[in-house]
Symmetry: C2
DNA sequence: TAAGTGCACTAATCGACTTAGTACACTTAA
DNA sequence: TTAAGTGTACTAAGTCGATTAGTGCACTTA
């Protein structure tokens, strides 16, 4: 299911988390699917269970999966995940706008920036999943 | 001019850069003022010249000062600095908006966010210097 | 030419991050 | 109750990058 690239300079847990996130995003792992246990996946990849644990923690923080102690890890429902991600993006954006305001940039200028971005043609890396526009 | 706090866990060069930035922002060091040389300031603070060098590099990157090899470091003109800072903020903001668009967030929602931030009453830490609104 | 300036390179130190080892608490089913 | 399977907390070793220091070079000015 997952292959580790030892030439990759990033930490193992980050690689594992990223690969799993991709599988979730592209739909291979559907909502509420049970992920392999930390021990079994660790055995399969020949690395320490704690490393898998950390990858799972990362995924949980990012909202991709949820954990039930004693039972296992499960893929988060698509709608929940999408809402969570959008909220994160919006929070970051709010910080940026506040910063702009404090820097003395007018709201007109910021609004113009927003419009120009949305007016630009779409290119590269489309959003993970985007059937519905809520 | 500057006092180092060894209880502070941050690196020395960061402390030095921050203190100098504050002096520049609050107007103690006016535009085109010559800063102390890396050697003299290092001697004054009893730290290595390279540490001061790094602090100055940081300040130059952030647009607070400019460097002339063989001559010294000088405080950037207020207008230049302000433009540079605003551009940095706007670039960061653009990235955020692109991310929002890719996440499937509508432009209306982003615009509403911008307006709500600018509608909120001003509070805490006002912008460094803000007599003119260009 | 000499003094003063910033800059580039290397080396030592130190701390944080990463990973592994181990033991514990929880859930489930026999 | 018991046993197997699950996630979690704690500590320790190893590794790697950031920070700081040391040294020498190139540039500007008088």
């Amino acid at each position: 299911m997952i292959v580790i690239d030892y030439r990759d300079k990033r930490p193992l847990y980050e690689q594992v988390a990223e690969k799993l996130a991709q599988l979730i995003i592209c739909g291979v792992l559907e909502s509420n699917t049970k992920l392999p246990s930390v021990r079994s996946l660790a055995l399969e990849l020949s690395i320490n269970p704690n490393t898998i644990q950390r990858a799972y923690n990362q995924l949980e923080q990012d909202g991709y999966i949820y954990t039930v102690v004693g039972r296992g890890n499960y893929v988060t429902d698509v709608h929940e995940w999408k809402n969570g991600y959008q909220n994160t993006v919006l929070q970051e954006l709010e910080e940026g706008v506040k910063k702009a305001r404090e820097a003395g940039i007018t709201s007109e200028r910021v609004t113009a920036l927003v419009q120009s971005v949305y007016a630009a043609p779409v290119q590269e890396s489309p959003p993970p999943r985007d059937e519905e526009s809520n």
